[in-house]
Chain length 333, copies 2
């Protein structure tokens, strides 16, 4: 990891993806039966977790199953299997492989033993924010790929069924003669949706623009964000989305950091940008309210001071980092 | 446009997308018949161009058809229509709208008049690099969205046919009860594939790493590049792709600039990064050869000096910009 990169939730990588092994059927088969190999289970895109309470707050841990426990699941034709990679920190020669497994029906039905205290972590938000940083990184990868499998089972070019290849990173159309089989097409590969998320700075340098969606918890305000459209740059997308959602015009844009966001498979591209106008006119379809907040108000919210006039996005969201970074930059404390 | 952003090919935006009009059927209908409205024609993702020779070099111009010419095409059920936006520079009140139209069969068959000297620009590379900067920006948007329509006609979740909505920016499944109709799903929206493209700098600061694919013209070397995978950050993707393709390990990554690349719908995210190892071991599947080039060798290639040992990627590619920018930065000339 480069020294400049902050350790943002979902971004930690404890595995080496070893994409060259995705086509190595023999190697994958050996790993599938190796006793130390780790299997993660998902149901309806929720990971199986082994400890922690069902209380919406406490940290939970991924349930790491061994090869012997999942043999029935592995031979089940409904199971989707994704090779995640091997653990980076290896002392000895053996590379410890990780896989993610998912079935439409509750996959724990096919487990060798019942696991007490284990449950599928319900509700992406805030459920998925309760993992350790190491587990969150693995879930970002696994959940994004599994979400693609659950939505892209059929060939979008001809509507036929597809088969899974390349360790879970390719779906190939089963209809001979389909256009998607001639040459390389993105229809066969997992989708990653780039999203810009931006802290808009007031021309006075002492305010920033935050908005709230209706679905936010009461009092929470966060950065504006939106999907990058075809044919756009990141900088153009930032200016367009801010204008659409708040009516504010934006000039220069500065990339800061990004975040994997597996709901279902976004790449959040975090920027600071500078407004050239300040009148707010919100797009009521998307945003309930948008406001300029002072630096002091952001600091109060950050430390949860009793004077705070709004609630920050949680520390696991890149919006939190964009706000914190602004406070840290040339703060006149 | 922010002052920092270079004017890279495909990135210029002469239109305001006005996404709020995509659901305004009445407004769109009025624009469709307005005499000044501009229609661009595509066939097999190739734009109709009106001037310039069929010689693979000379600049060509988009053929801008008026409403009267395309009436038959507009009522044809095979036509895919995409609302591109309105021209930004407007003196009077009337907003000049632009649309892109495409049919499976040659759409010029349905035109009112035959246009002499017009032809569909064949071959994305280098054909699409022959446009003016203004036209290239419009084509980046139009071609990406049309490429999505041509590949994503069927619902990937259930395999049923879909209908086009929101001015060409949404496809909705026609099967009642399909999962894709509950909530918001990316299956309904155009796809944008983020790709990292990076100039790898040698630890000595005086060399950079370039590679060549088998399909490149003889002598050409360019930056390494690769698709961002699910659950990854841009920085992680840069390090993974460089290691996969060249065996070189990379430390810090610096985002510089990006480029829309409508073949079919990529977002090229351009970075500089610094190598921490220098031994090269290429992935023969993707790269034919990779080499460290000196600053002087890049300068020679840039000015097409007779001593040049390799050929630069064309000025329309962001790789060209990444190289030129490196030469411009702290060059010891
Ligand atoms: N890939 C996508 N996934 C989900 N929604 C999308 C996507 N692309 C465009 N949208 C639309 O964008 C809306 C959210 O707006 P925004 O995030 O501001 O761009 C959604 O409600 C969809 O209508
Ligand atoms: N969205 C995508 N579109 C096309 N090819 C993809 C995509 N995602 C992964 N690939 C694979 O990536 C290869 C190109 O390698 P790279 O550009 O280095 O990632 C292609 O030949 C495909 O096998
Ligand atoms: Mg949007
Ligand atoms: Mg928006
Ligand atoms: Mg938004
Ligand atoms: Mg590659
Ligand atoms: Mg790749
Ligand atoms: Mg590549
Ligand atoms: Zn097909
Ligand atoms: Zn469907």
């Amino acid at each position: 990891r480069g020294v400049e990169e902050p350790d943002i939730y979902f971004n930690r990588e404890i595995l080496d993806r070893m994409s060259d092994k995705r086509n190595d059927a023999e190697w994958l088969a050996a790993k599938r039966v190796a006793p130390e190999t780790v299997f993660l289970l998902f149901h309806a895109l929720n990971p199986l977790v082994c400890s922690g309470a069902d209380d919406e707050v406490e940290e939970v841990r991924l349930c790491k199953l061994r090869s012997a426990a999942v043999q029935e699941l592995l031979i089940n034709s409904q199971t989707v299997e994704v090779f995640l990679g091997v653990e980076k920190q290896e002392e000895d020669d053996g590379q410890l492989a990780w896989f993610a497994l998912s079935t439409e029906d509750d996959p724990t039905q096919l487990l060798k033993h019942k696991h007490h205290n284990s449950f599928f972590l319900q509700g992406a938000m805030p459920g998925l924010l309760r993992l350790s940083d190491d587990d969150a990184g693995v879930v970002a990868q696994a959940r994004s790929v599994l979400a693609w499998h659950s939505r892209y089972r059929f060939c979008p070019t001809c509507g036929s069924d597809t088969k899974v290849e390349e360790g879970g990173y390719k779906r190939t159309c089963l209809r001979a003669g389909c256009k998607s089989l001639q040459g390389v097409h993105n229809t066969c590969y997992p989708r990653v949706d780039p999203v810009v998320i931006m802290l808009v700075l007031h021309p006075d340098g002492n305010h920033c623009l935050l908005g709230r969606k209706k679905i936010f918890p009461p009092g929470m305000f966060s950065c504006l964000a939106g999907f990058v459209e075809p044919g756009e740059t990141l900088e153009t997308a930032v200016r367009r989305e801010v204008r659409e959602e708040s009516g504010v015009q934006v000039g220069p844009v500065q990339y800061l950091s990004c975040q994997a966001w597996p709901m279902p498979s976004c790449l959040m591209i975090g920027c600071h940008c500078v407004a050239t106008t300040t009148d707010i006119k919100v797009d009521q379809n998307e945003i309930e309210e948008a406001r300029w907040f002072t630096r002091q108000q952001v600091m109060d919210a950050l430390v949860k001071d009793k004077r705070a006039v709004f609630i920050m996005p949680p520390r696991q969201a890149i919006a939190h980092y964009l706000l914190k970074h602004w406070i840290g930059c040339n703060a006149n404390l």
